[in-house]
Amino acid sequence: MANTKEVRKQIASIKGTQKITSAMEMVAASKMKKTQDNMLKGRPYSLKIKDVIAHIASANSEYPHPFYEERSAKKACFIVVSSDKGLCGGLNINLFKQVIAKSAELHEQGVESCFALIGSKAPGFFKSIGGQVVAVAEKLGDKPNPEDLIGLTKVVLDMHKNGDIDQAYLCSNSFVNTMTQQPNVDQLIPLAPAEKDDSISTQWDYIYEPEAKELLDGLLTRYIESLVYQAVVENNACEQAAKMIAMKSATDNAGDLIKELELLYNNVRQAAITQELSEIVGGAAAV
């Protein structure tokens, strides 16, 4: 039978852990609000740039952009958004699972894969399985700057321009609600054809200053950057939500364990007292 001292020690240590996990839960809850705000703040830009691109699509522009061009695919690049820190349940693992499934599916069609990774968790995983990694951006913090992602996006777009890759996928978690995060693998390049804005009559074109090609290049690059940035801030919100849930259940579990151990402790203590009493009684009877 366990002795009381041992059980007491165990209870104390679990209580310590519980304090930590409940503190982490509260930190995650307060960060979640901020990351959600960040997520919402970025939306107007993506919506506006989408509008502008829709306007361009409905204008009589002659220049077809390579980002819309369907090539026969030989190689694809996955931009994978992961969290910087762990302790957030199955958030990263569930995403990686989808990425690998998609990559295996492409592999069967003869399409090779390479990876551009965001966040500290992804490089560790893709290193261990030996994927070809072309770019990494990590330690972006809770409030990522759009400019931290420029380099990574440029690497991928340059590879597309040079014909090294024919497709690009953006893999990240989307924030459904606090309890649910949905891992997604979306095709980034070729871009889905822009929806035409029917409210504008068709017989017109912009005045381009300077050249149409230059402007469209710049705009579409910004558009893809904004999609990647949105994915990162959304993934951040997911991370904090997942962390909050994981830490909440850890705290609850610690509570359950403590209850069980306290019951055991009382049992052991009572048994010791009973034993002592019976020894005294037995001793007195012998005298």
Partner: protein
């Protein structure tokens, strides 16, 4: 007096949204004055102020660059959050590549699907066990 709708956004926030009687901006080819009913125009923005006039009121915003789209009833300013130049972008790209190389000095670049799925299966199994334990308690 007729007005034109103006939206100024950057990738991490909405800067301004409202009506204006006149908008002044620094395009990549020179100063622009935009009145309601302007012909459709698409241009790059140079670093400089964007001034929004509504009647006698005027507000000014600094843009470090970006794009400007004009429709007869709508002006959209897509502002960059940072200085952008090809050389700077290139430097960022090199940084991203370097950190990839630093992080993973890969021996072989062939993706090991069997290993990946084994690792994932293990992680998922671990999660499932934890969930089951949780339910049983």
């Amino acid at each position: 007096m007729s007005t034109i709708k103006i939206n100024i956004v950057s990738s991490n926030e909405e800067i301004y949204s409202g009506e204006a009687t006149m908008v002044y901006a620094t395009g990549s080819l020179g100063e622009l004055g935009i009145a309601p009913g302007h012909t459709p125009l698409l241009t790059g923005l140079a670093a400089g102020p964007v001034r929004v006039q509504n009647g006698t009121e005027e507000e000014a915003f600094f843009c470090s660059g970006g794009f400007l789209e004009i429709q007869p009833d709508l002006v959209t300013v897509l502002s960059d959050t940072a200085e952008r130049a090809d050389s700077l972008d290139e430097a960022e790209a090199i940084k991203a590549k370097e950190s990839a190389e630093q992080d993973l000095a890969n021996k072989d670049a062939t993706l090991d699907y069997a290993k990946a799925s084994a690792q994932l299966a293990e992680a998922v199994a671990r999660l499932k066990t934890i969930q089951k334990l949780r339910k049983n308690q």
